[in-house]
């Protein structure tokens, strides 16, 4: 195989498939990127057996063929090269020569016969979404994805498309984030739980494309955007019934400037070390929301924020990181905080957008 490709385009393709490289040392072939030629293009593939990525870039093909090159090394080499044509030549057995301008690298290849076949999945339909909305929503709800592998279902994002509506939900059992939006011209419906890591990668990679389409099979989910196909396993099992977790009403509602609240929480949290909780007290008579934090043997912090509360006085405590996560992904200049009671979940909502809900369980004080 002998091919030439523009350095920028090659790097873009390598960056995309790099997300699928395995770090497992037991299967060295999975640390490689499979490169082959087809119809005037270079096809790059990677897989860690959970995620499989395939992408394509235009190339000048002198000799057709295929090879597997160490993925991270090849990406590092190409990233370091100047902006010029990169040639990959595998005419000598067992190694590839990568040249660009005056630079030349000889890199040992892996056997393409050992590389897993790219999965072929059959889907009834592919649903197309504007990738900007898709990526933004993934970014919002992914804050609440669990990293705890002992509860696999919570390590995913529930994606529901129905009646022209896209909804995503994630929860790690301490907080829950739900985001819903209508998308014009969307036909079809699906409901699937997609591993958080995979869908976050797709959101990042697809951001430069107009559209991202997705489809599901029995145990996999497929994304297509630009020249890239991204296949991930889907998570089996039933997602928690999130609707019944969302309180129907509240005792106290506070509307607050999001930026101001965010800054205050950041400041006061400096004294909420070692998991110490952040206390939020609402004084309706004085129109004051007070944030306090205290760390044993370190000190304490307090800040008052003027607010326009509705309802009753309340005091509740949260993990400050969880609270900050919610504030950072909420939309709009103003957010609403709704509280039922000190031991029930608190809710952050966008005032101008009822389709964002961030539910947060409080911390019980001893």
């Amino acid at each position: 195989m002998k091919v030439s490709v523009a350095r920028g385009e090659l790097l873009e393709a390598l960056s995309a498939v790099s997300k699928g490289l395995s770090t497992r040392t037991t299967l060295p072939i999975l640390s490689g990127i499979h490169i082959s030629t087809r119809d005037g293009s270079l096809v790059l593939q990677s897989t860690d057996l959970e995620i499989s990525i395939k992408t394509k870039t235009k190339a000048r093909i002198e000799d057709a063929g295929q090879t597997v090159l160490p993925g991270k090394l090849l990406t590092d080499i190409v990233r370091s090269l100047p902006e010029a044509a990169v040639t990959i030549d595998t005419s000598s057995t067992g190694s590839a020569i990568v040249t660009c301008g005056q630079s030349s690298f000889t890199v040992k290849t892996l056997s393409p016969e050992d590389f897993p076949k790219f999965p072929v999945i059959s889907t009834d339909e592919m649903i197309s979404l504007p990738s900007s909305s898709f990526s933004k929503i993934v970014h919002q709800v992914s804050k609440a994805v669990s990293r705890d592998e002992t509860r696999p279902i919570l390590t995913g994002i529930l994606v529901v498309i129905e009646e022209g509506m896209l909804r995503m939900v994630a929860t790690d059992s301490y907080r829950l984030c739900l985001r819903e939006t209508t998308i014009e011209g969307v036909a079809g419906s699906l409901e699937v739980v997609i591993p958080g890591r995979g869908i976050e990668d797709v959101a990042r990679l697809a951001a430069s494309s107009e559209q991202v389409s997705l489809g599901v099979s029995d145990n996999q989910v497929i994304f297509q955007f630009g020249e890239t196909v991204f296949i991930s396993r889907r998570i089996e099992g039933s997602f928690p019934n999130y609707r019944q977790l969302i309180p129907k009403d509240h005792q106290t509602r506070v509307v607050i400037d999001r930026a101001e609240f965010s800054e205050a929480v950041k400041r006061v949290s400096l004294l909420a070390q070692h998991n110490a909780p952040l206390r939020v007290a609402v004084n309706t008579a004085d129109h004051i929301l007070t944030l306090t934090a205290q760390t044993q043997d370190v000190g304490e912090a307090k800040e008052d924020i003027e607010i326009s509360p509705v309802g009753e006085d309340v005091e509740i405590a949260f993990n400050h990181t969880y609270l900050m996560d919610g504030i950072s992904v909420a939309e709009g200049e103003k957010i609403a905080i709704e509280i039922v009671s000190p031991l029930k979940p608190g809710i952050l909502k966008s005032v101008d957008n009822s389709e964002f809900i961030y539910l947060l369980m409080p911390v019980r004080l001893g």
Binding site: T150, S173, L245, H274, P277, Q296, A317, G366
Partner: protein, 411 residues
């Protein structure tokens, strides 16, 4: 006496624990060849010292505490004399206090070998008699014994602990105080010395029953304000609380081994026991801490401690043990003999709990460690420490050894 059915314990339950011939018992523990023989701890028989403690074998000859050593030597020529080793007695005393503090923070030691405990049952409380039995058994496992009095007040508990020594457990149930106290000589009452006894005798008061019947005016005339207090206590009325339970700075436990332990299995198994014990005590007091300390003493008596502070306060064995094992490996190499191992936690923070949204069916996995240890806590609370534990590779030799001897001992 307690095999009959009783109604639940009404009112306070105060326990007095008194070690049996403590110093002598420790010497017999450390010198197995002295067991069953008269042992006197104190000054030398040919000197001018006094007897500090005499073993029960020596007491048979009439030897008692505070007796001049020379006199004791005449009474019991075959006695083995031991110089007191207070640091060793302190060590055992601390272990006994650990056992008591496993049960309640309300432990008030009045000397190296005596303490009062408030073990008043809560709403669904465990029968204090069972707690007393358990403490007695746990102490016996250390290789020394104690006598316990259990009653509704300090005075009665103290008298009860003296009533059946050694290894006695005397329970004076609520309401039974007058019947228990009445036949006792007045000198059985703490605070009645020889002078008071003499003065009471002049008015014909010889028993606590007589004293209880004394009217307050006569008591006041005879003995001053102290007299009224004595009368009240002779009636079983004594509201003095058991102090203790002050704010804790640390929770720790340590164990001295009969023979040095040196294999990784043995040492880690002991460390696990200590961690379990400390964690359980923290949970009992609603504490969680960030600073862990592992203490060890090598066979040559050199002592090392290592401390580490973790980010998040912990009170569950599973969160503490891996850190403790790592700390151990920093100061100990398998093969090096250890005579003592200790573990402690300090740096208590506010006990907080992040609540969860999801029901048990989904969240069960993370709550398991806590549910498990809390379940174990309840079982141990009820049936004793040794009924249940984690499967531990390695030996629990020091304990089994003690236990075996306890069982074999003709009581």
């Amino acid at each position: 006496m307690d095999d009959t059915l009783h109604f639940a314990w009404a009112g306070r339950a105060i326990m007095h624990l008194d070690m049996d011939a403590f110093f002598a018992a420790v010497e017999q523990l450390d010198h197995p060849e002295w067991r069953g023989r008269p042992v006197i701890v104190g000054g030398s028989p040919d000197g001018r010292g006094v007897v500090s403690t005499a073993s029960y074998e020596a007491r048979v000859f009439g030897v008692h505490s505070a007796m001049p050593a020379a006199q004791a030597a005449r009474l019991c020529p075959s006695a083995i004399w031991a110089r007191p080793r207070f640091s060793r007695y302190e060590e055992i005393s601390r272990s006994v206090r650990d056992i008591m503090r496993d049960v309640t923070p309300y432990v008030h030691p009045t000397s190296i070998d005596e303490a009062y405990l408030d073990i008043t049952p809560g709403v669904n409380g465990v029968d204090p008699v069972n707690i007393a039995r358990r403490i007695q058994a746990d102490v016996a496992r250390l290789g020394v014994t104690c006598s316990i009095g259990l009653a509704t007040s300090r005075t009665v508990a103290k008298i009860a602990s003296e009533a059946d020594k050694p290894r006695g457990l005397t329970v004076v149930r609520p309401g039974a105080e007058p019947g228990f106290l009445a036949p006792m000589p007045v000198k059985a009452l703490p605070g009645v010395g020889r002078a008071t006894e003499e003065r009471l005798r002049t008015v014909g008061v010889r028993t606590l029953g007589d004293l209880a019947a004394l009217d307050e005016r006569s008591a006041d005339q005879l003995l001053g304000s102290h007299g009224i207090d004595l009368v009240m206590r002779a009636r079983g009325i004594d509201a003095r609380p058991v102090s203790g339970g002050s704010e804790r700075k640390s929770v720790s436990a340590e164990h001295t081994f009969r023979s040095d332990i040196r294999t990784r299995e043995e040492v880690e198994a002991e460390l696990r026991r200590l961690v379990e014990r400390v964690a359980r005590r923290m949970r009992a007091h609603g504490l969680s801490g960030r600073t862990f300390t592992v203490k060890l003493r090598y066979a040559d008596f050199s002592t090392r401690t290592v401390s580490r502070t973790v980010a998040v306060p912990a009170d569950i064995d599973a969160d503490i043990l891996p850190v403790a094992v790592t700390m151990l490996s920093e100061v100990w190499t398998p093969g090096a003999g250890l005579r003592l191992l200790g573990f402690g936690v300090a740096g208590f923070g506010q006990q907080t709990q992040q609540l969860e949204l999801l029901d048990e069916s989904v969240q069960a996995d993370t709550s398991k460690p806590r549910a498990l240890v809390e379940g174990l806590d309840r079982i141990k609370e009820r049936f004793g420490d040794d009924v249940l534990g984690f499967g531990v590779r390695g030996l629990r030799a020091p304990i089994r050894e003690n236990k075996g001897e306890e069982d074999d001992d003709p009581v």
